[in-house]
């Protein structure tokens, strides 16, 4: 087929995959500069996962107490367990302030102080009240505001389009191919700059706070294109996931004074983090919970503990924590005013992702060689701002700030470069994926394979890890990948084929999960969210470095030569709370 004759061919300066905070903020920047920007998203923009964020967005405005970018910087470094790159953090903490004021000027309805300024509240790991918030719907209002700004500036939206392959040749990005979910059919997007802002990969776990859309498609596409991923083994588990569902009960509950207790009614955090108690960083609280559960002190010996709000009183619960009250009631039939709420650690945030430099340019090796025209921002990326453990409220800020930077850099790239030619058979790879799922003679279904992956990731790749468990997981993934080859879908229609979409997503889940396991197996230490019972200490001598991973000839190849950027004044220390 000749591309110029293809009906579904779009030529656009900057093509942005993902309509969360990162993607929309980038698109806005590109469109404002007079170039054409298109956002491709598999869900309507306002339905992106960013809208689910409740707590807040971090910036050292010092509106509620003394604060400074330097304090924000130190907290982030310590929170990261020293794996974050400090040049990135330095850029971030300064830009963060500007990002929040810009949001306010766009109309975000931030909660206010008595004198009418943006209000800020305390959050785990931050040494000053630094979270700018809008009640308990911060992500929701930020996302809607950005979407509306993009409408104003005439960003093109391709809503309910799922990207299936990157068009990349000789280290230059040329565009991508996406499936039109609504009507069916493949579309070619020919671009001068491409941004991957596809969000996190928490859907590889059964118990997760993540939306259905968070299947790590961006990291899957990059791996498939022969490029590396970074630090994928670092995944944050949030301590207060609703039992069995994994749905998040915001840290705000503990901020308001809720307790976490075991079967004996004991506030066990006193054994693990006596000074911060329930408000210690997430990795620590999650591990403490899991320890109680593993040692038989879960409620009734089962795999959960209680979040107890009762002492806060009915009025405070209903006024300050209405979302939490509703979630417990709707999902577990638990009335939080009268009963404690069953909780367990839930897979929450993906620290690892697509490696990029401070300009958000995707890199292809430890030396930092840039892939021209390919960018990444938000939870899909690994810059590395969060290192081994992200602080709450730093991720919305990450997405917005580096989204803006990505927009600026993409604009420059578009001005400096003409459109590069598309590869010879641009549709081939995407078409093959679809054809196979429609024509496969196999009897396998995608749902049970996904279920097995998720259940076992929760069992073997959770808060605590060890060589034996991970070895089992590795074998399970290999089997599941084999079975995936035999997957056939029931639905052969074109219009809104959910069966097809989910089957395509599963391929990504199976692909990057293998990288998570391989990275975690190789990293024989415990740092931040990655805790190994067989290697319980942080080993700065050997492991103060990033993990890069490629898929080559069907095998995962690891490289540990990418060092961590550390400033003389912020040398690693023991991390205590």
């Amino acid at each position: 087929m000749k591309i110029d004759e293809a009906r579904n061919y779009h030529k656009i300066d900057a093509v942005i995959v993902g309509a969360g905070l990162a993607g929309l903020r980038a698109a806005l920047e590109v469109a404002k500069s007079g170039l054409t920007a298109a956002v491709i998203s598999k869900v309507y923009p306002t339905r992106s996962h960013s809208g689910g964020a409740q707590g807040g967005i971090a910036a050292a405005l010092a509106n509620a107490a003394e604060d400074s970018p330097q304090m924000h910087m130190f907290d982030t470094i310590k929170g990261s367990d020293y794996l974050a790159d400090q040049d990135i953090i330095e850029l971030f903490v300064n830009e963060a302030i500007k990002t929040v004021y810009e949001f306010e000027h766009m109309g975000v309805p931030f909660s206010r102080t008595e004198d009418g300024r943006i209000n800020q509240r305390a959050f785990g790991g931050h040494s000053s009240p630094r979270a700018c918030f809008a009640q308990d719907v911060t992500g929701h209002v930020l996302l809607h505001t950005l979407y509306e700004q993009c409408l104003k500036h005439n960003v093109f939206f391709f809503n309910e389009f799922q990207v299936l392959s990157l068009l990349l040749e000789n280290d230059v990005a040329r565009g991508l191919v996406a499936w039109d979910i609504r009507a069916g059919g493949l579309h070619i997007f020919h671009a001068r700059a491409v941004l991957l802002a596809t969000g996190g990969y928490g859907r590889a776990w059964k118990v997760t706070s993540n939306a259905h859309a968070n299947t790590g498609d961006g990291v899957g596409l990059v791996l498939e294109a022969g490029l590396p991923l970074e630090d994928m083994e670092f995944v944050q588990f949030h301590p207060t996931g609703l039992y069995k569902h994994g749905i998040l009960l915001s840290e705000a509950a503990r901020g308001e004074g809720a307790y976490i207790v075991n079967d004996q009614g004991e506030r066990f955090m006193k054994k693990y983090a006596a000074s911060k108690m329930e408000l210690a960083p997430r990795d620590i609280v999650s591990r403490s919970e899991q320890t109680e559960i593993n040692e038989g002190r879960g409620i009734g010996g089962k795999d959960y503990v209680y979040l107890d709000l009762r002492h806060l009183g009915k009025e405070k619960i209903l006024q300050r924590l209405p979302q939490i009250y509703d979630l417990a009631l709707n999902y577990l039939k638990v009335d939080a005013v009268k009963e404690p709420v069953p909780i367990q650690p839930t897979a929450h945030y993906s620290m690892g992702g697509i490696p990029a430099n401070a300009r958000t340019e995707v890199i292809k090796d430890a030396k930092g060689t840039v892939v021209r025209g390919l960018y990444t921002a938000g939870e899909a990326s690994c810059l590395s701002l969060h290192g081994a453990n992200r602080l709450g409220c730093n991720s919305l800020q990450d997405a917005a700030t580096f989204g803006r930077i990505a927009g600026i850099r993409m604009g420059e790239c578009c001005r400096e470069n003409a459109y590069s030619d598309l590869p010879a058979e641009p549709l081939a790879k995407a078409q093959a994926k679809i054809d196979r799922l429609k024509q496969a003679p196999g009897k396998e279904k995608h749902a049970p394979i996904r279920e097995e992956l998720q259940v076992n990731m929760t069992k073997y790749m959770g808060v605590f890890r060890n060589e034996g468990d991970m070895g089992k997981m590795k074998a399970i993934i290999k089997q599941l990948q084999e079975r995936y080859r035999m997957v056939a879908i029931d639905d052969h229609g074109a219009a809104f084929n959910l069966d097809l979409i989910e089957a395509l997503e599963l391929e990504n889940l199976l692909s990057f999960s293998e990288v998570i396991v391989e990275g975690a197996l190789a990293r024989k230490e415990s740092r931040g969210a990655h805790f190994r019972t067989d290697f319980p200490k942080r080993e700065d001598g050997q492991w103060l470095k990033h993990t890069l991973a490629w898929r080559r000839d069907g095998k995962i190849v690891l490289d540990f030569s990418k060092g961590v950027v550390i400033f003389p004044q912020y040398q690693p220390q023991e991390r205590k709370y």
Binding site: H49, G52, Y101, G107, L151, H212, G493, A495
Partner: protein, 232 residues
């Protein structure tokens, strides 16, 4: 418990018009409507399509009609309806497939009311000062998740596709009453129209349908007052 579910199915390539399909199986007592749909799609019939993402009632994807009421599937436990369920897509929109309706007209209306802060004054170095009382005026209206349940419940919307409808008008309210905004005149001109705020006949269906319990009709009434004041 054992449940029996009727779902309105429509596959454009196969079906001339929508038809009911019956499913019967056992599911956990705490299951939500979304769990029921997932169970059907993952185990019984892969061809069923519906929208969902956050599964925590904040993204607005999963609004649909269950036993005649508009609900968010993800937050609605089946025990609210008992063991017999009848699930169909939102009314008033054309069906793309099964429970998935065409929302393009809904989002296009939103764009018509200029849904963004319009500022004529110079921007401050830091934030605009806004009192808590000023914020409270618009607070509830900013909770809208664009699920379209209100439009689907509105008898003024069904016969008249040109009517802006409750969600877009609520958005107009959200900006017109924002103390930082200078664009009320432009927006009032758009909504002060027979297909604008005046087509709201205070039937209150939208308020009943809204999963976020937003008092939409009240805000639309305030818009009417403002529109009158402005044209005097």
């Amino acid at each position: 418990m054992d449940i029996s579910i009727k779902i309105l199915r429509y596959q454009p390539e196969k079906d001339e018009k929508p038809h009911w399909q019956l499913f019967k199986f056992a599911i956990e007592d705490e299951a939500t409507i979304l769990d029921v749909l997932n169970e059907i799609h993952w185990v019984h019939d892969g061809t069923l399509s519906y929208r969902r993402s956050c599964r925590s009632s904040i993204c607005g994807s999963c609004a649909m009609k269950v036993n005649g009421r508009n609900v968010l599937a993800c937050e609605t436990p089946i025990h609210r309806f008992g063991t017999r369920l009848k699930i169909e897509p939102l009314s008033g929109f054309s069906i793309i497939k099964d429970l998935v309706v065409d929302l393009e007209p809904f989002f296009a209306k939103l764009k018509r009311i200029k849904p963004y802060l319009i500022v004529d004054k110079p921007l401050p170095d830091k934030e605009f000062v806004q009192s808590t009382a000023e914020l409270e005026t618009i607070g509830e209206s900013t909770l809208c998740i664009l699920c379209a349940a209100c439009s689907a419940a509105c008898p003024s919307s069904w016969p008249n596709q040109e009517y802006l409808g409750p969600a877009a008008l609520l958005k107009a309210y959200r900006f017109i009453f924002d103390s930082r905004d200078d664009g009320s005149d432009e927006r009032l001109e758009i909504i002060n129209d027979k297909n604008g705020v005046w087509r709201c006949h205070t039937i209150f269906n939208c308020v009943e349908a809204c999963p976020k319990k937003i008092k939409i009709t009240e805000y639309l009434s305030r818009l009417k007052v403002k529109a009158v004041e402005n044209s005097l």
